[in-house]
Amino acid sequence: MPIKQVHSIPAHVDRIWNLAPHPTLPLLATATSDKAAQIYSLNTYFPVAQLDGNHKRSIRSVSWKPKTGGNSEVVLATASFDGTVGIWIRDNDRFVQDVGSTGVIDDSGSIGLEEWEFVASLEGHENEVKGVDWSCEGTYLASCSRDKSVWIWEADESNEEFECLAVLQDHTQDVKHVAWHPNEELLASASYDDTIRLWREDDDDWVCSGEIIGHRSTVWCIDFDKMTGDGEARLVSCSADETVRVWSRQSMTGKIGSRDFPSTFRSDPVSENWQQEAILPQRHSGPIYAVSWSGRSGRIVSVGADGLLIVYQEVNKGEWVVIAEEEDAHSVFEINTAVWSKKWKSTAPHGQEGGAEKDETNPDNEEIIITGGDDGNINIWEVTIQK
């Protein structure tokens, strides 16, 4: 079998909407119909924190602030159907150690949960917030909502005071997902209006610099290629039209952030031109809810309403093949989210199979796929095909 399930966490009673692994720590955040996000350890697969007491409706999306420089804070953003985005910071005096241990052990020897502090609530959206994402250096936070708008926020150093930088209303329908480029200050958003839009800063305002039209139905999710060269950009999108497509940027004008790209006139409005590079081999027979592009292997995973989990690999630029396919990955339930994650060294809990040791010589073993579905389970998968 090219893919195997190595673990399953019966995490929630109700559906899991979204999962996010921390960029550098073995932590996984979950967004569920509970009004509380949960944090799991990716070493032990045990829960280490529950972030409750703030949101009044389901959490739809979660995003970790990238750890930058000397700032050692661990910060999570939660997007909720109650119309707000919550900002949470881990109490650094009481948290599960990064490597090895199984929880905060108190005096009686039993495992406790971490303490997290709710520090800010970003209000302004008119209704359900569907997506949230931090930019590559943690400078900006983007949120999107059923109110058709994308908002960009900036935090101060304490992460407690957020200023609204832009309210972007170019989409004509519900915006489902936002994602930032891995190293440029370029934002992409996916919408019920069948388009993907790109956003950049122009002078002191954010504008829509490009539009990707091609999908014939709601675009549910997008993810950027993390292995592109300087100045390049590619993204993958999945849609209710049952296709997964890869798009690449052909040209652009104007600056990105503080970097100048060649442009004929300095006063050119920022714009960029994206073209479809590939439609991945079609396997899904229902809306595809999530895609994720691995920053380690360059592989793409997609999941959807049909319960299929598909892994694709690029054999030549623009040419993709399916290397693994799993049916009923969450039994009869729809799968809402899939993410690639670093595989953390883990001791198999309670003698369960699947806790393979990290293989330094084989980079393929370094990553796992984590999926969440309507069954409330978090499933962990390993692709066993060599690259």
Binding site: E123, G124, E126, N127, T139, Y140, R146, D147, K148, S149, E154, D156, E157, E160, E161, E163, C164, L165, A166, V167, Q169, Q173, D203, D204, D205, G257, S258, S267, P269
Partner: protein, 540 residues
């Protein structure tokens, strides 16, 4: 010329809400509802009849009379909910066609009949138009002629072609608004020796922008106590015009039709606010048309603006004759210092500065502190005391939805306010730690708030940038060009005391009824009352 008009940019910068403000509520609590259908009875009224097993029950007892669902323009524009491109094009196009039809009607060319087939009494007899400075600047930039030439052509257009008896600029209304706004802030801040008549909360927020007002009333009622109570120039002009013309011509107010040319569509809403209608149903402003609609009107009537002759010696002869007798004509067409949205902040700080100089004999100066974007600027009024500068008042200019977001958030009690400097993202990248002003509303005496980025000069109803090849101009550049036309206008200082004296002489001692208004929270649709039958944006 048709390139100037673009139906799709009817964007007043604050996005529409999703749920209709006047929804048809379906009461889920009714337990005796089986299947029903709607029929028309013998007298043409809609009735709801129950359906049993597929057969409708048309006996009198089984049918319930239905009241027709009603929604009128005021409701719709108040909501700014579902009125987006398509509908608002229709609405806006109706306005200048409405004007033309009323003009024809008054000339006896056509008669309006009411529902019973009778001709409506009181066709309008006297037509007056007022035009905003921003609209004149827009026309000046679009046709690439001077503002004076625009004014001269407007006289010919309104007087000779359309048959108006009066045409004025909104400068007089603006001067009155500026004078009373400054007084309002002085009284509130305690920096004036007169006894305060009304004490307002700090900061006072400008209330000239109807888009901003609607947004506050509908979404952020906690901001209501901060709003300035002073009416906008559009409304003050309307009240004054109708009073003066009524007396001058011996007609009743409802025989006067006042059209105002404005830079945005939200001004239509302002004109139809219930606060601005008298007991007899007379509105201070009967119809607002945007600058774009003036162009559309010319197109519809096959007129070429450039070919309209300039009424000779317009500045004195033409304009003078087009104003009511007691109207200070020059001031009507002159602009004022400060921002191209009217200069409210400028005048408030100038008045505060004058007061300091007068009472404490200290000179004052104005410092400008840019915010993190061009639509957010802080101003500090400093008094110079023995060589040292002491900040005596602060004010800010907050334009655009994204900055308004930060303003309303910081005015919520319990929210930590600014004061803390946010390192601008650009500064972080370049390595220098220059700080810019963050919005700190509780420290300000006044905030000039406008919904449109760039302010009124960039209103949603202004003529857009030329887009044909060779003539194409970028949006920023176009905004600057229109702004320059505005700056090129003659402007005069506002002598607060002279203005107030004039207003009180013309209007009478009940000056509050001329210059003050009030706001209220719009009762939103509450989910517990039932469920709306349709949410805008629902796909069928």
């Amino acid at each position: 010329m048709s390139a100037i008009l673009s139906a799709q940019d009817l964007n007043d910068f604050i996005g529409p809400g999703l749920a209709c403000i006047n929804p048809v509520v379906v009461n889920r609590s009714d337990t005796n509802q089986g299947a029903t259908e709607i029929q028309i009875d013998s007298s043409g009224n809609p009735v709801e009849v129950s359906v049993d097993d597929g057969l409708s029950n048309t006996t009198a007892t089984a049918a319930t009379q239905l009241t027709p669902a009603q929604i009128n323009l005021s409701d719709c524009l108040a909501c700014s909910g579902c009125i987006t491109s398509a509908e608002s094009v229709l609405v806006s196009l109706q306005s200048h066609t409405e004007l033309l039809s009323i003009l024809r009607q008054s000339r006896g060319e056509s008669a309006e009949k009411d529902l019973n087939g009778k001709e409506s009494k009181n066709p309008k007899q006297v037509f007056v138009a007022s035009i905003s400075h921003q609209s004149r600047a827009s026309l000046s930039a679009a046709f690439n002629i001077s503002v004076d030439a625009v004014d001269a052509k407007l006289v010919t257009l309104f007087r000779d072609i359309l048959g108006f008896q009066y045409l004025v600029g909104t400068g007089v209304g603006r001067q009155v608004a500026l004078a009373y706004s400054a007084q309002e802030v002085l009284l509130k801040s305690g920096k004036k020796s007169d006894s305060p008549s009304v004490v307002q909360k700090t900061p006072v927020l400008a209330s000239i922008c109807p888009g901003w007002i609607c947004y506050v009333e509908k979404t952020h009622p906690h901001v209501l106590p901060y709003l300035s109570a002073i009416k906008s120039p559009q409304q003050i002009t309307g009240s004054l015009l109708k009073r003066l013309i009524r007396e001058e011509r011996g007609v009743s107010a409802d025989e006067i039709y006042h059209v105002s040319v404005m830079p945005c569509f939200d001004k239509k809403l302002e004109a139809s606010r219930p606060d601005f209608v008298t007991g007899e149903g007379v509105r201070d402003v009967d119809c607002v048309i945007t600058t774009k609609e003036v162009v559309q009107l010319l197109l519809d009537e096959n007129l070429d603006f450039m070919n309209i002759s300039e009424a000779g010696d317009a500045r004195t002869g033409g304009l003078q004759a087009m104003a009511p007798k007691l109207w200070p004509v020059e001031k009507s067409w002159e602009s004022s210092d400060g921002s191209s949205s009217g200069g409210y902040l400028w005048h408030v700080l100038a008045a505060l500065g004058d007061e300091i100089t007068r009472s404490e004999s200290k000179p004052t100066d104005l410092k400008v502190v840019p915010g993190k974007n061009s639509d957010m600027v802080e101003y500090h009024l400093v008094a110079i005391d023995g060589g040292k500068e002491v900040i005596v008042a602060k004010a800010a200019q907050v334009y655009g939805f994204r900055n308004i977001q930060n303003l309303v958030r910081k005015l919520k009690t319990g929210v930590k306010t600014g004061g803390r400097t946010v390192l601008s993202a650009r500064a972080k990248k370049s390595g220098t730690a220059t700080s810019t002003a963050t919005l700190a509303p509780t420290e300000y005496d006044y905030v000039e708030v406008m919904a449109c980025p760039g302010g009124c000069i960039n209103g949603g109803g202004q003529i857009g940038a030329p887009t044909t090849d060779g003539d194409a101009v970028g949006l920023r550049e176009w905004r600057d060009m229109v702004e320059n036309k505005y700056r090129g206008m003659r402007s005069s200082a506002v002598d607060r005391y002279a203005v107030q004296h004039w207003a009180e002489t013309i209007w009478g001692s009940d000056i509050d009824s001329l210059v003050r208004t009030s706001y209220r929270a719009v009762e939103g649709f509450d989910a517990k009352d039932g469920v709306p039958a349709v949410l805008v944006g629902d796909k069928w």
